[in-house]
Symmetry: C2
Subunit: 382 residues, 2 copies
Amino acid sequence: MKFTINRSAFTQQINNVQRAIPSKTTINILYGIKLALDNNGMTLIGSDADISIESHISVNDPLANLQIERSGQIVLPARLLNEIIKKLPQDEVVISVDDKFKATIQSGNAEFQIVGIDGNEYPRLPIIDLDHQIQLPTLTFKNMINQTIFAASNQESRPILTGLHLILEKDFLIGVATDSHRLSQREIPLKLSESSHNLDAITVPKKTMSELARIVPDNADLMMTLSNQQIIFTFENITIYSRLLEGNYPATDRLIPNSCETEIVLNAADFLQAIERASLLSHEGKNNIVQLDIQPDHIELFVKGNEIGNVAEEIQFVSSSGEALQISFNPDYMKEALRSFGDIEIKIQFNSPVRPMLLTPNENSELPHNDLLQLLTPVRTH
Amino acid sequence: MKFTINRSAFTQQINNVQRAIPSKTTINILYGIKLALDNNGMTLIGSDADISIESHISVNDPLANLQIERSGQIVLPARLLNEIIKKLPQDEVVISVDDKFKATIQSGNAEFQIVGIDGNEYPRLPIIDLDHQIQLPTLTFKNMINQTIFAASNQESRPILTGLHLILEKDFLIGVATDSHRLSQREIPLKLSESSHNLDAITVPKKTMSELARIVPDNADLMMTLSNQQIIFTFENITIYSRLLEGNYPATDRLIPNSCETEIVLNAADFLQAIERASLLSHEGKNNIVQLDIQPDHIELFVKGNEIGNVAEEIQFVSSSGEALQISFNPDYMKEALRSFGDIEIKIQFNSPVRPMLLTPNENSELPHNDLLQLLTPVRTH
């Protein structure tokens, strides 16, 4: 195995696949990147067994300038390979591997010899049937991930809640995440072909979704394939493979209230800043709670009675209707919910101090009403 | 106590004095910033008992727009005060303190109440005699700190070595730092008045010097005063007070060799990059050592025989004279020494594989010869 490649093109693809590589694993070979060369180009693979990222560099890629002298495959330590390639003195890198899997990396006057592992020992990726690909609206899909994923659970006690739940309908896709204290849901339009209509709902590990949102460019063509307890995303020269989470996702539909006793309309970004100020004090106290006092003509946010001090702020609002209400909640959950809306008018609906609050875009906001919703359980203070 | 101030001017000075505030201390009041108001303005103080930073905001400062309604003093929790002031909604901040030392911080609709401590309980700063101030060449002095301080020890077993040693002569100042494995020394010109001629050498804690180098602007007038086991630096509206380290600094003069058996001249920045590459592999092995093989016509840097691999690189040089030599050293110490020179030609002088290497600027470099020197003890490998 021997090839020549442009240093910065190589670094870029190493960085992409390295995102899947675990910082700690019991499977030693997964600390490595697999490099596989054939006549068409080089495939790089990184994996933590749950998620695998595969990147392909074609011999026709003018920036990579890949020249293959001998094909073959090897696994090299990922972190070290990345640092070496980054620090090499010249733009051109030559890598050759001998029959004992010792790799020689040469650039300018510098020559490294690194002990590698036979590429055949690396776990195989599933072979997938790409007949039923679903084209995703890339930017909208990325937004949907970022507007929901934070509400997924970090606790392995209910593994199914650590994922993003995707419900595929004829004309749209719904993403849902919940840790049982709060719930985020976004609906986006989607055109499915006839053959995909009978797809089930699935739950994807949150790490898969956040890595995807991080590495897929906004203007890339993004395709999704479901096959045999795996989900596969492809775009440009990258393929991301991930296992699905097993188990029954809770029926979250019935949690969303469809009436309310109190409703306020305000700017999400302004309210976020007030919550950030109030949380400076709630974080100092024993309980991380802020309180909201809603009157028809006055809305006040406050933290009181903790050992460091108090804070109170009158909140600017567009409208306030229905019953007066005092409600307490975790400001950190509220901050994440508010950030998902950006700088638009939102409606917050309440039923009682012990029932969930529903946040949705206001009717005259740019974001279509009901496409994005955030549900937040209050904290009982009495 | 009551005053009005511009938010961003206030934040800036809080940031300056907060640098002295310890993240952990047994003296609770030192988690606070002292604010003292009189008719002339406000003084802010932060301290970790060893170093104190004092900043003064004058009522005449047009950016601060400080208006004092009632003078007084208080100590408020530093981190919380900083975060609150940063996040307030308006440019104008009003702070008032009642007779129970509860501070009310008000800006726009937001109102915080924070429990403070009587300013009289805060430790007093020493009163200093500013008759014998020494004017420092600010930028050169900052460079001197950054080119030497890294060689000071981190080990409290010999406290005197954790400081930067300053020797004051009639026309110059010498800064020395050593951890007994390496030594850094820089001489800078200095004009002393007659009355300062009989000053002793002193040793200043490295934290004082690195904080000073970080906060003093390059173009500020920087003055130094020595008084009663304290050193005081003043510039603009800031005063830094620091204790001195007690004990006898070792006589380092005799450590610096004045002849050599082998001498090479090369570019410091190029050699630094080669050392950075080689250290990628030395860091993986049991011993963090790189080796240099010097021949009259060939210089090679290498790491060999460790479990991960080898690296070898032929080094570009300007000249190589004297005896052939193989020498081993810690690449991380060498990197810090090389960085102090920047991108210039340097001379490295050797006497034997077990005696220290001396790095100095080459005669035709811009940096005057011998003004900066780095001494590095090799590692014995046999």
